[in-house]
């Protein structure tokens, strides 16, 4: 993340926000376990310093699933060491972070193939098979 070189002290300091976000993720995870209702935390809207962000990443850790998406730029999705808590990072122009969120759910929607895309893929594959000589 870019920082202001004139005031380096501001982004180097942990403010305690990481623990607040972690606590919020914990509450959402309990709701998911009890009711199946997903929850989300928009990280971009929070005043996280660089130190907060890396502390949060360390606290959540990495779990069993990691995915890299090539969708209108790069995106990274990984399940944290707490199953059901996912970190979704979308990159935009210049590889900068366009949006970033914690999703507390069984699987993030962006990983699920949409029925419209399945239909289009089936049609494309059918055409491919019809025109391919084997």
């Amino acid at each position: 993340m870019l920082r202001d070189s004139a005031a380096p002290c501001l982004s180097d300091r942990a403010t305690g926000m990481a623990l607040s976000v972690l606590a919020e993720a914990g509450r959402l995870l309990e709701t998911l376990a009890a009711t199946g209702e997903p929850g989300f935390i928009d990280l971009r809207s929070l005043p996280l310093s660089d130190a907060d962000r890396s502390q949060l990443e360390d606290l959540l850790g990495r779990g069993e699933v990691q995915a890299e998406l090539d969708v209108a730029g790069k995106s990274e999705v990984w399940e944290t060491s707490f199953p059901g808590v996912w970190w979704i990072r979308h990159r935009g122009a210049g590889d900068k972070i366009a949006s970033e969120e914690i999703a507390v759910c069984r699987i993030p929607e962006i990983l699920i193939t949409h029925p419209v895309d399945i239909e289009a893929a089936a049609s494309r594959l059918r055409e491919e098979l019809e025109t391919t000589d084997v």
Partner: protein, 353 residues
């Protein structure tokens, strides 16, 4: 022109997946401070929408707003907006010129009556029958009134269109006025700034596409998502303000240490915009981060606010004329807070000795 197919159908044919819609929707929800749960509704709304016809009118302006909107970047999530709209008229960007250009505007108005969006940058001169700015033999006033007649909504972009801007600055030789001074029977969204933040323009259009309605606006007709907070409220240098640590000039130790720029004229306390959070050039920086105070460019009559380098508390001119009591109140609060902060700091230092 607008397509009969939905955006979902149109882009699926071009191999754009629904994941792209969802990613764009997550980005839009984030910049508009909507809950992340809104992303699914936005993605669905955009997929079901028709390509939005947009007629862009440029009057007394410098083309900076267009430059901001079309900022050159590699294709990315932010650029998907250009797939979602059909820019049917924009005399700087379109290939057609002369009567062919005007025919394109008239055809878009006819085919999309009641549905098209008019985007306007630049103010409209009214003095001497509006002769100071004409296009295709029409005054800006004539073109604006004719084009807005059957529009669904009007978006005034940039401080010239929203508040008169530099053309309207003292002594306003052309009698320049804002769009909202002329068009009073259509929903008008003001996206001020010189230029406005690109995301404020694209985010607002995406909101219109997704929900078919106008986002929540402030008392100056600006989307609250982008203009709901003062620059000062979200400024990363605010901790220095609270502690009474101010740069006194642009080359002193305070400036080098990144202290608050209030005393060198920063208008952040009375300026409502999202520069401190969205920033510029893909999130690289914003004026204060680059070492310069905020000019207040998204506020009415910023050009006449009394000097870019004069602190708010000592502004010259008559600030009440431009923004009511806001500047005076802001300056008073700012000055008082600064004095209190300094006193507190001195007390702490004294007690610590």
């Amino acid at each position: 022109m607008s397509d009969k197919k939905t955006l979902g159908e149109m882009l699926t044919e071009r191999g754009v997946s629904r994941r792209s819609f969802l990613k764009y929707a997550s980005y839009t929800a984030s910049i508009m401070a909507l809950p992340p749960t809104a992303a699914t509704a936005i993605a669905q709304g955009i997929a079901n929408a028709r390509r939005q016809s947009v007629i862009w009118l440029s009057f007394q302006e410098c083309t900076g707003c267009t430059e901001a909107f079309t900022r050159a970047k590699a294709p990315s999530v932010e650029d998907l907006i250009f797939d979602f709209i059909s820019l049917d008229y924009h005399h700087t960007l379109m290939n057609a010129s002369g009567h062919l250009a005007e025919e394109a505007r008239e055809a878009a108005m006819k085919e999309n009556a009641g549905k098209y969006i008019v985007v306007v940058d630049g103010s409209v001169p009214l003095k001497d029958d509006g002769i100071y700015s004409t296009i295709a033999g029409m005054t800006n006033l004539q073109m604006l009134e004719e084009t807005c007649k059957d529009a669904f909504a009007v978006i005034a972009v940039g401080s010239c269109a929203t508040f008169g801007g530099i053309p309207g600055a003292n002594p306003n030789p052309t009698g320049a006025v804002a769009i909202s001074d002329i068009i009073t029977d259509k929903p008008i969204i003001n996206i001020s700034g010189c230029p406005p933040i690109p995301e404020a323009m694209t985010g607002t259009i995406s909101y219109l596409l997704s929900f078919g309605s106008i986002p929540e606006l402030d008392h100056l007709g600006r989307p609250k998502a982008f203009f709901g907070e003062a620059i000062h409220d979200r400024c990363y240098r605010r901790p220095f303000y609270e502690r009474g640590m101010f740069a006194k000039s642009f080359d002193d130790e305070g400036a080098r240490q990144g202290w608050c720029l209030f005393e060198v004229g920063c208008k952040g306390p009375v300026t409502y915009n999202a520069c401190a959070t969205l920033k510029w050039n893909g999130g690289v920086s914003f004026p204060i981060q680059s070492g310069h105070g905020c000019l207040g460019c998204s506020e009415p009559n910023f050009w006449d606010m009394g000097g870019f380098y004069k602190p708010l508390s000592t502004a010259t001119g008559d600030p009440t004329k431009f923004v009511g009591g806001a500047v005076v109140a802001g300056a008073a609060i700012g000055a008082a807070s600064a004095v209190m902060a300094r006193n507190k700091r001195n007390k702490v230092l004294k007690e610590g000795k």
